[in-house]
């Protein structure tokens, strides 16, 4: 039984990655152990400091899914306008796509046969 995956072009050993990952975790743990000794959990030390401003409540602080990747969607607005259109939620439309795809596939196979 071997850990090595030979793809025919290169080889791949997950064990090496796991060993590296464990070593990195150990190094991180080592530095963490050498951190501030005076830290006390659940005291004022653990409070959020926001330049002296009042810290919002947890639900106001949380960045919700709608706000993530805003720039990505704004840039690709035109793509999404096109791609969202067929997603009508109407089963009749879905079946129409099925009919069209079947017809195109059948015609392609028949024409390819004639060309041959």
């Amino acid at each position: 039984m071997t850990f090595i995956l030979d793809s025919g072009y290169a080889f791949w050993n997950p064990l090496i990655w796991i060993i590296v990952f464990i070593v990195v975790m150990l190094i991180v743990y080592f530095f963490r152990r050498r951190g501030q000794k005076g830290y006390k959990k659940d005291t004022e030390q653990a409070q959020i400091f926001l330049c002296g401003e009042e810290v919002p409540e947890a639900e106001e602080r949380h960045i919700r899914v709608g706000n993530i990747y805003w720039g990505f969607f704004e840039t690709l607005k035109e793509y999404y306008n096109v791609i969202l259109k067929p997603h009508t939620g109407i089963i009749n439309d879905y079946i129409l796509w099925f009919v069209v795809a079947t017809a195109i596939s059948a015609i392609t196979l028949l024409i390819a046969g004639l060309v041959k």
Partner: protein, 522 residues
């Protein structure tokens, strides 16, 4: 044990079928006994599937003829064609049945707690076991008509299971859509079977593969088969129903629906490589699959990034990942007639695609199960309403991370192993396939990071304080799949040598499939 292995193809189908009919009766007496029956029967089936897989790896294709004096007597005396119902199990069938058996067991265990508060549990488990029966039958059958019958069993039970939670309106809509799509796909399959039967007067796949001429009617039948099965797998642009149905089912059933897609993919492979393998216009069909596969990958992932419903988000990712498999196997099909190209990269591309099916069958149901766990805890699928759940759902968080890293192809997880095989091999066919694959992988990681941050990270929200991690059986269901991921991660070459390459070779070796039933080709 030898007798058990000989009878195993029919037992693997019959045991869940018998359990399905027993379940409502036992359920009336004791719920505990019913649950035990479901789990024990599925566990025994897992054992039988592995025993059969071992036997096939040693002795080759396993033929089981129903009603014959000996199970391997495929053609009765005085006949020149096989007329009985035949089960034919090769490396490909048994590979898919391994996936099917493991995920079925995990889904059943997960369901014990997941649907514990629902009514009609007897019906739920009956339908679940019928679905399992349909899947195994689809993979083992050696004739086209029974392929249609088992497809129907899996589809109808699947539709009923999607609509199981009748208190939600969207489940009824999702179930209805699945039923309509499945019915039309099944009718197209039946029509295609009719076209072949009208010409060749037979339904046995091995016999048909030997005599098929690739006439105009055969080509129309091939188009019908292909589109029907690809629609059932959710290939773009036939994926539109997919998130509508998959996102509303109980999470355990969504996991099962994912592997139902794989079962339909198996049927498409069987039709292209085995039934039509000797006559097919491989480059044309291969390119059709590759182009649609590319669209599936890209449209699936870009639609997934856009979603705010956790289950719709995961459904679109399921669509996207199926594109990788189509591309891998599509490249193998495109070069099918060229032995040199098959040896150079075709076989590895197919192996990569098939390997990705196995990986997908582990991480995708796992991710759907974590989505179900989020719903169980919060009572919503809306990611905008979630946050800080890692504080209370530690197990779910870890299991979600395993699934996320795997689906995104991050080393050293198993998703990377299959993706690297696909990337390296399809690059030689056309570099654009690899480039698209890598872009899709990046977008996959980005979108899962977004969902992870939305649901799990941040301060604990007041509405979710005081909750508890999901029940143990749901955790066990998820852990079974995560264990599968870890195993494949650690031993990729073992899986490749023992399961993936035999499955790919079974597809490429059409003659062996025919010979197992028909004897030597005259």
């Amino acid at each position: 044990l030898a007798s058990l292995i000989t009878q195993s193809p029919i037992l693997i189908i019959a045991i869940p079928l018998a359990a399905a009919f027993l379940t409502p009766f036992i359920g009336m007496v004791s719920q505990k006994a019913r649950n035990t029956l479901v789990i024990v029967s599925l566990t025994f089936v897992v054992f039988l599937v592995f025993a059969l897989a071992r036997d096939i790896s040693i002795n080759g294709i396993h033929v089981y003829t129903l009603g014959a004096t000996a199970p391997d007597l495929a053609i009765p005396g005085g006949f020149i064609v096989p007329v009985r119902i035949i089960l034919e199990v090769d490396g490909m069938s048994v590979f898919f049945s391994i996936i099917w058996s493991i995920v079925s067991l995990a889904a059943a265990i997960y369901s014990l707690s997941h649907i514990a508060s629902e009514t009609g549990q007897n019906r739920f488990y009956t339908l679940l076991l019928l679905m399992v029966t349909g899947g195994f039958g689809l993979m083992f059958t050696g004739d086209l008509f029974n392929l249609f019958v088992f497809l129907e069993i899996a589809s109808i039970s699947g539709a009923a299971l999607i609509a199981y939670r009748t208190k939600f309106a969207d489940t009824q809509e999702g179930g209805f859509k699945y039923l309509v799509v499945s019915a039309i796909a099944s009718l197209m399959v039946l029509f295609a079977i009719g076209l072949l039967y009208a010409q060749y007067n037979a339904l046995n796949i091995a016999y048909l593969a030997q005599v098929i001429q690739y006439t105009t009617l055969d080509k129309i039948a091939l188009a019908l088969f292909l589109i029907a099965f690809t629609m059932k797998t959710g290939m773009v642009p036939l994926h539109l129903w997919f998130p509508d149905s998959y996102s509303v089912a109980p999470a355990s059933i969504t996991g099962m629906l994912v592997i139902t897609s794989h079962a339909c993919m198996y049927a498409a492979f069987r039709i292209c490589f085995t039934l039509y393998g000797g006559v097919i216009d491989a480059p044309v069909v291969g390119w059709i699959i590759i182009v649609f596969g590319l669209l599936t990958m890209f449209v699936g992932v870009t639609m997934a990034v856009y979603q705010k419903d956790v289950m719709r988000f995961m459904s679109y990712h399921a669509v996207s990942q199926l594109g990788y498999m189509w591309i891998g196997v599509g490249v193998g099909l495109a070069v099918l007639g060229n032995a040199d190209l098959i040896a150079t990269y075709g076989r590895e591309a197919m192996s990569g695609g098939i390997f990705h099916i196995l990986n997908h069958a582990m991480y995708k149901p796992l991710l759907f199960f974590t989505g179900g766990a989020l719903f169980h805890y919060t009572g919503t699928r809306d990611l905008t309403k979630m946050g800080g759940l890692a504080h209370k759902m530690k197990w779910t968080t870890i299991l979600y991370m395993i699934g996320t890293l795997s689906i995104s192809g991050i080393p050293p997880l198993n998703g990377f192993s299959s993706k690297i095989l696909i990337y390296e091999s399809v690059y030689q066919f056309h570099p654009i396939l690899t480039i698209t694959g890598i872009i899709v992988s990046i977008l996959t990681l980005a979108s899962f990071t977004k969902a992870f941050h939305s649901a799990f990270m941040g301060a604990e929200l007041p509405e979710y304080k005081g909750g508890r991690e999901v029940p143990r059986s749901m955790i066990i269901g998820m852990v079974i799949l995560a264990a599968g991921i870890v195993f494949i991660t650690l031993f990729p070459s073992l899986v490749l040598d023992r399961a993936i390459h035999p499955a790919a070779d079974a597809l490429l070796n059409q003659g062996a499939y025919i010979n197992a039933v028909m004897g030597a080709i005259p």
